[in-house]
Symmetry: C2
Subunit: 234 residues, 2 copies
């Protein structure tokens, strides 16, 4: 299962690593290893200190958090990207837990190696800035979405985002379980069901995880998508 010193060109090509010195990259990878995880494995538990920087090569990972017996999904990580970079850099406890959603292949780089290379490789430091700035902006958008919109509006905008991602096709499939989607959107599964019904007048129909949107029925007028909340990048 383990695989020492992985040499995945796609990792090297990641923005985070592409500019750094070869020897530093080598130093990072010497201590790293790759592992395949089955679905639903908890990779990281919030509150623990950061031992490894994680990079997901395939599959998907749920970042979630718990308090007082409640739990909520905060984001989904997809290949190829790192996660829990901020905790690694600050050598601080994880604020979120992480679990595989499906079978996933993940690179683990010891946090102390990351911090050591960060101290000596300037391009790596600069790449981390870009990465962190992007993640910061992503979660600002999540917060705005939560505070400024009702659950119906959040769902409508989520569907428009997915539609966009499917190349603007009128039909597409939901990318994960509805109960997890509900949690991401900050509502209960029961409420998500009702929200889907609530969007029917705007041309949304649902069959299992298959969605069809009749774009002429005014969903955009209802959702009022805003690049400052809904654009995944920028």
């Amino acid at each position: 299962m383990d695989m020492p010193s992985p040499d995945y060109p796609e990792v090297r090509r990641l923005h985070l690593f592409s500019g750094m010195a070869g020897e530093h990259y080598g130093a990072l990878m010497r201590g790293a290893y790759v592992q395949n995880f089955p679905p639903q494995i908890e990779l990281i538990t919030e509150g623990e200190t950061s031992d490894f920087l994680h990079i997901i090569l395939s599959g998907s990972v749920d970042l979630f958090s718990s308090w007082n017996g409640r739990e909520t999904s905060i984001a989904t990580v997809r290949p190829i990207s790192t996660f829990i970079l901020a905790a690694t850099i600050r050598d601080a406890p994880y604020l979120m837990s992480a679990r595989t959603l499906e079978k996933s292949r993940i690179v683990l780089i010891p946090s102390q190696d990351v911090r050591a290379v960060f101290e000596v490789d300037n391009e790596f430091a600069r790449a981390i800035v870009t990465e962190l700035a992007q993640r910061y902006r992503a979660i600002v958008k999540i917060t705005k979405n939560l505070k400024l919109r009702t659950s119906l509006e959040r769902l409508a905008n989520y569907l428009l985002q997915q539609r966009e991602q499917a190349g603007g096709a009128s039909a597409f499939d939901l990318e994960f379980e509805k109960r997890r989607l509900a949690s991401l959107l900050g509502m209960t599964p029961e409420n998500l069901s009702r929200a889907f019904k609530g969007l029917r007048p705007y041309g949304v129909s649902v069959k299992g995880n298959h969605i069809v949107i009749d774009i002429d029925k005014g969903i955009e007028r209802f959702a009022k998508p805003d690049p400052l909340i809904d654009d995944p990048d920028s």
Copy 2:
């Protein structure tokens, strides 16, 4: 009102600038200026592109955001610290607006200068990483607070935080208007009033903006503060 080439030692001492080369610091400050703003001035409007990195020397600034006629406060910035760093670094549109809450003195550094120095000064780049990681973690906590807690729980934890900040004193004053507090906590002013009443059984009494907490009445047991949500630092 304007003041070219400011030389505030407290700016130089900021973690963000303390490690960088003197000439680079000088280059940043040559293009910078300091300005005094009255209360309620909008310094930054979301959606615009980042012209200046802002540093607050005195006073306080509200970061807020709007959508579809609604508005919400997201965070408060206090001296001495920067704000809207991520947008500056990425040369991307602001995701939040900023307004002074009181009379405030603010340093403005042209964003292009910041980016130019970022490219050549390695210590500066590393300092930005630390700063961004910290801000990222701060907003993750904000999101967790919003998604995992009811408004009553958010208020209870906020009060415990303030109490802590007042040195654990049984009495302290709220630091800003209740309607703004309501917005920060994600509720309406009316609801905040009722939430204060709802905490009365737990030993919270309110008179204007003066708060007294009888800590033995079980507010901590109710609030269940959690460092992974409520600790301002780490």
